[in-house]
Symmetry: C2
């Protein structure tokens, strides 16, 4: 009798919230007080190797429990799957999750339900990379083009990208990969930093952090804008004076404006030579981004962290709406959908500068950018991954930044796993941090 194959035995979820709103870290024109949070999932197996798969959706606080409920709604699709089969072909699970007709009604392919799929699919990739003993970027870059193409759901894409075209891009992308791998391992992947530019920081803190960013080797910083034009003019002037003319300075409105307002406001900041204007309006407004791009050139238009699926990215590219594509590792349906998005960008010749920050997004997305460099676009020209210096210490394999570059992760997996003690402390509402916080509040209430 042959032993039964190892299977997924549990999909465990955690509602993890960090009290970031108390420091105004992460404050911008639309998000004044985020509590960076993760709807976190662990896939457990009965395999002898003991490996787990970790994944999460990033949220900013309230509603994280809804995101957890959505991940739990996927449990039935995952528990019981043979681990070998699952890790050899995550695309099948990806298609099953996206294709569940009853759950699909809750999107389709957008919002809470789609992000839940992304968390679970990313956890499968984490597991697959751990079992392969490789960091995810390396697993992907070493995979056969034919296999990568099979990982992608081309539904709704074929008017812009066919499987045959994707295969051609991936075959071409392998040329010179060895040399690029050596360069990546030596130098890392270029980063830019948003740390100086949060809206809640005063000019002194902005000056200090921008000076530090240049000293740390970053060649691009980013400032949040969009709440008050006079403030933005002052802050852009301060930042440009600090970093000098040669360091790129992006600005980010976090969806604050209507189309006409975006054009006016961006033009009013053009004297400070912003490199791109990010999220000038609703992430759903493909035609609006195209109109803004036509009006504000040569300032580039960037968006994508809230673009909810490959079909939105397809249209942003078809409409000529963006100069810079900002994919996010945990907004869409996971690695499989991001493979499609990277290939779409390559087809249209638009550089990918991934969104990161939040909690754990840097840890995840570096793998996708490195894969893109090694196997898709083949270049880091005009490409940078966002970096924010927040909350990395909660991860078992935190990002490493040197001289303005992400160093390539070497540990097996997707760098997604949080430290068990961080999970225990920040689980909401009963982790030790939140329980103590509640006790404090109650005591203050009684003393008053």
């Amino acid at each position: 009798m042959s032993p039964s194959p190892a299977r997924i035995t549990a999909v465990d979820t955690y509602d993890i919230r960090f009290p970031t709103s108390r420091e105004l870290d992460g404050s911008d024109a639309m998000n004044p007080d985020p509590d960076y949070s993760a709807a976190y999932v662990v896939l457990r197996t009965d395999a002898a190797d003991g490996h787990e798969g970790h994944g999460f959706t990033f949220t900013i606080g309230r509603g994280n429990e809804v995101q957890v409920a959505a991940i739990e709604a996927l449990r039935g699709h995952v528990v019981g799957r043979p681990v070998d089969e699952l890790c050899a072909d995550p695309g099948t699970l990806n298609r099953d999750l996206i294709g569940d007709s009853q759950l699909r009604w809750l999107g389709p392919e957008k919002g809470v339900m789609h992000m839940a799929i992304g968390a679970v699919v990313n956890a499968v990739w984490d597991l697959a990379a751990r079992r392969a003993g490789k960091p995810l970027w390396q697993l992907l870059a070493g995979a056969e083009p034919e296999w990568l193409v099979r990982q992608i759901d081309f539904r709704y894409l074929t008017d812009a990208l066919t499987p045959e075209e994707a295969l051609t891009i991936l075959r071409r992308g392998r040329e010179g990969a060895e040399e690029r791998t050596a360069r990546l391992l030596e130098r890392g992947y270029p980063a830019y930093t948003t740390s100086p530019g949060w809206l809640g920081y005063d000019d002194a803190k902005l000056t200090r952090l921008a000076t530090q960013a240049v000293a740390d080797g970053f060649r691009q910083i980013k400032l949040k804008v969009g709440a008050d034009l006079d403030d933005d003019i002052r802050r852009c002037r301060v930042a440009r004076a600090v970093v000098g003319p040669d360091v790129r300075m992006a600005i980010d409105a976090n969806q604050r404006w209507d189309v006409d307002e975006a054009i006016r406001w961006t033009k009013a900041l053009t004297e400070f030579d912003p490199y791109w204007i990010e999220e000038p309006t609703s992430p759903d407004d493909i035609l609006g981004h195209a109109a803004i791009r036509r009006a504000v050139a040569p300032v580039k238009v960037a968006t994508g962290e809230h673009a909810h699926n490959r079909i939105v990215f397809k249209q942003l590219l078809q409409a000529g709406a963006i100069d810079v594509l900002q994919l996010d590792a945990a907004r869409v349906g996971g690695v499989n959908e991001n493979l499609a998005i990277l290939l779409l960008a390559a087809k249209f010749g638009v550089p990918v500068c991934p969104h990161a920050g939040g909690v754990g997004l840097c840890e995840l997305v570096q793998h996708l950018a490195m894969f893109d460099y090694l196997a898709v676009s083949g270049t880091t020209d005009d490409r940078v991954v966002e970096y924010v210096d927040h909350l990395h210490d909660h991860f078992l394999d935190p990002v490493r930044i040197r001289d303005g570059h992400y160093l390539a992760p070497t540990a097996p997996g997707f760098s997604a796993a949080m430290r068990p003690e961080s999970i225990a402390r920040y689980t909401f509402p009963d982790g030790t941090f939140w329980a103590a916080d509640r006790d404090d509040t109650n005591k203050k209430g009684q003393a008053a």
Copy 2:
């Protein structure tokens, strides 16, 4: 001492599921086995009048519990609000819910979280109409244009529709409203029926139901297509033969196709003179719909039941992507957002033919169509509301259809309230129906 004003005291939620998959009612190319469900909400107050506000999101089964969790995440915004203020200006709550920055991250304005907002906002309108002693269509049609404009969140719309333009449309819309009201009360609002056309029905059932539809006075039917072209050709031929050349026959692919496939398939059915092709591809694919429309004319292109917010509708209109706009009462952020969508359609001169069916969608959306007739578009030409003969008996104020028309509701409210006994029976998983069903399954298991 003045008495404190009446307030919202509770936001009660119910996970209600009907076992419709057992009859293949509602089966289409993407949704083979829906269990029509409602994430249902009741607002309770401490007002002496005892009125409640009822609302819901329609889903098709699994994940309805996620939708309920999302409604519960809104509770803190609603409980404690003074009822008079809330009902005098639902727009303020609507903006507060959409503007909650932490919850907004889960969309923004799309999917589970946005539909939850729609359920709560619609419940407020139900409450407001009950307290006013009017059916909602009448409350809206009698409201001042200035007040209606204030109910709308124009964010992201002003490049296509300004508040001033909306006001002009509404002022013009009032002309002749008295005469139209009399006609509406006498004749009703034209409907079309999808009842004959579900994909799971055989030709005999299709023939019987299509014959019945024409006998019942409907001037338009709809057939589901998209699973198998030969089947579709046969079913379209059967249906066209039954209804004759003068009854309109729409076809509905429920998002089954890619762009090129949609064009090929629709052209292959053109000989049967389809009036419109509905949801030919992804509801997110604005540019795709535009390409399909250019290719399949004179067959019209219709979509909207899954368009997730006003920004998508704005672009469908700007891109010339649709001939027919199919708003849904419970997909977007409630009545307030649908006011914006009706005004956008009027601005662009595109007829609105609302989506209905499911559970309770007919009950809700008739109010919006009647308001559009009386106060916005001023016409029913080329306008029909979908009608499906399912599950109406679970509602306290069910739709009434006569000679292919929706008769105007006369009871105060939004016709949203389900019968208490239906709620008790079909609440999942512990309502009497589901509990008995589980017992049956267990007994069969033991007997086997």
